[in-house]
Amino acid sequence: MTSAPVSAPVSAASAVPAGAGLPPRKPGGIHRRDRTIGLLAVLPAFIIVVGFMAFPVAFALFISFTKTNGLTYQWRWFDNYIALLNDPIVHQVFLNNLKFLISVPLVIFIALIVSVLLFERVRGWKYFRVIFFLPNVLSVAVIGIMFRNAFGYYGGVNQALGLFGIEPIQFFTNGSTAIAIIIIALVWAGFGYQSLLLLAGLTAINPAVFEAAAIDGAGWWKRLWYITLPNIRRVLGFVFIINVLYTFSSLFGFIFVMTAGGPGFDTTTIDYLVYLRAFSSTNLGSGAALAVILFLFIGVLTLIQNRVFKLGEED
C-alpha cells in the first residue's frame, strides 16, 4: 500500500495495464483507471472482430461495385447488381432456395412432436435429449457425406431397395431427387436441436395452467391444442425464422459435399453460387454483389424477426 500513491497516477496517465497490480487511492482515480483498464481489456477482441468481420463486409460492399480479379479494381457502380438481376442462373438458384424451404415445415413439425413427447418426461428423457442433440455436434461434411453415401449407387438405401428386387436409383443425377435427399439430410440434422428449443419453451409454461385444465377435464389433445401450442407460439416463430435464415445462408456445406451444385445448377443455392462465382469466374465483383444481396435479404428477415419478437413480448 505504501508505494501506491506514487505509481498509481503514473500508470493511469500512461494507460499501461502493468500498473494494474497496484491498488488505486482516490475515488476519481479509481474510476478513470478502471475505464482505461476496461477499454484495454476489450480492445484485442474488438480490434480482431472489427478487422476480420466488420471490415470484410465493408470490403465486400466495395468489391461489389467494381469489376475485379482481386488485383486491379475498376469502379463500375451498379453493373454487377444489374447483371445479377438479369442473370437466369441467379433466378434458377433463387428458386432452388425456395424449394429448400420445404424443409422448414417438415423439420418444425417433427421437432414439435418430439418436444411434446419429451415434455411428458418419460423414463430416460434426459438421455433422449442427448441423442437428439447428437447430429448438432457433427460437421456438415460428415452429415452430408453420410447421406450421399447412404443414397449413393452402392449405398445403404439402394442396397435395401435391392432386397425388394428394385434396381438401384441414381438419386443425384436428377435435380428433384437430389434436392429431396438434401432436405432429408437437413431434417435429420436439424430436428433434434429444434425440439430442444421448443422443449425449453414448453418448460417455461406455468404448470398451474396445465393443472387447471386437467381439473376442468381437458384431455391430452385438448391441452396440446388450446394450451401448449398457443403458449409456445413465440418460440415457434423464432424456430421458423432461424430455419428460413439457415436455408438461405448455411446450405453451402451440404451442397459442397453432396452434389457440388449439380446436376447443372439444379441444386445450387445462393450461398453456393457466391462460392462458385468467387473461385471459378474472372469477376469477383459479381460474387461479392450476390453476397451483399444475400446479406441484405438476411438482414431484413432478422429485422422482421426482431419486430415480431418485440410485439410478442408485450402480450
Binding site: M1, P17, G19, A20, G21, L22, D34, I37, G38, L39, A41, V42, P44, A45, F46, I48, V49, F52, F55, V57, A60, I63, G70, E120, V122, R123, W125, V130, I131, F132, F133, L134, P135, L138, S139, A141, V142, I145, M146, N149, A150, G152, Y153, Y154, G155, Q159, W188, Y193, L197, P207, F252, G253, V257, V274, Y275, A278, G287, A288, F295, I298
Partner: protein, 284 residues
Amino acid sequence: MAEEETVVSKRISSNRAQWPIFTVLVLVAATIVYPLYFVVITSLRPNADYLQNPFGLPGEWTWDNYVRLADSYGIGQAFLNSLFVSTVSVAFVLLFASLAGYALAKLPVPGTKFITATFVSVMLIPGPVLIIPIYLMLARLELVGSYTGLIVVYVASGLPFATFFLTLSFRGIPDEVIEAARIDGAGFFRIMWSIVTPMGSSGLATLAVLQFLGVWNELIFAFILIPEQSMRLLTPQLASIGERFLTDQPLVSAGLFITASVPLILLAFASKYIMQGLQVGVSR
C-alpha cells in the same frame, strides 16, 4: 434446478400411459443412432464383404480401411492439423473473450453500448458474405496457405458470441468478491486469474467445448484458405476422400467416423456443458 425437479415429479405422477410415448421416442432416436451405427460397422469391413451383405454384421472384421486412410491419404496428419488449429483457436478465443467479457460485465468501459452493438450485429453476418473479402485480405497479407490466417478467421468469427456469452456468465460473479480482492490489493490480472477464471469456470468450459466443435467441424474456410494438400484439415480431406471413392463405402465410412469421433467423445463426456450452452442459445 429444484423447480425443474418438482415439475418432473408432478408430470410423472400424473400417471399417463407412458409406453406409447417411450416407444415413439425410441423409434425417433433410432433414426439418429442407426445411420451412425451403420457407418461404424461398415468402416470395419472390407468392401467386398459390404457389397455382399451390407446390413448384417461383417463376415470379416478389419482395421484395413483406417490403415489405408492413414497410409495413403494422410488422414492422420489431417487429424493432427485439425487438432492443432482447433486448440489454438479456442485458446485465443477464450483469452480475448474472457478479458473483454470481464471488462464488459464488471468495469465501466467507455462506449460499452457501441462495443456490444458491434459484437451483436457482427453475429448476424452470414458466412458466405465473408468468403471473397477474407480471401482477398489474407492473400494480400500473404496468409493464405498458412494456419495463422485460418486461426485469425476462426478467432474473429468465434469472438462475438464468446464475448457475449462470457459477459453474461461473468455478471453472475458477486461484486463483493471482486471488491474484497481489490481491497486486498489484487490488480486486474490477479482478479482475472484467481477470481474470475475459477468462478466462471463452468461458463468457460461450456464455451471451450462449443468453440472447439465449431472450429473442428468448419468446412468452407478450411477448404479455401489451406490449398496445400499436406496441410489440409480433416473436414476438407474427408470431403475430397468422399468425392474420390464413391464406390468404396467402407473406406469413406472410416473417414466419416474419424472426423465424427472427436465431437462424439466431447458429447459423451461434456454433454452437461453442451446442454448449458444450449440454454444460452435459447435466451439469445
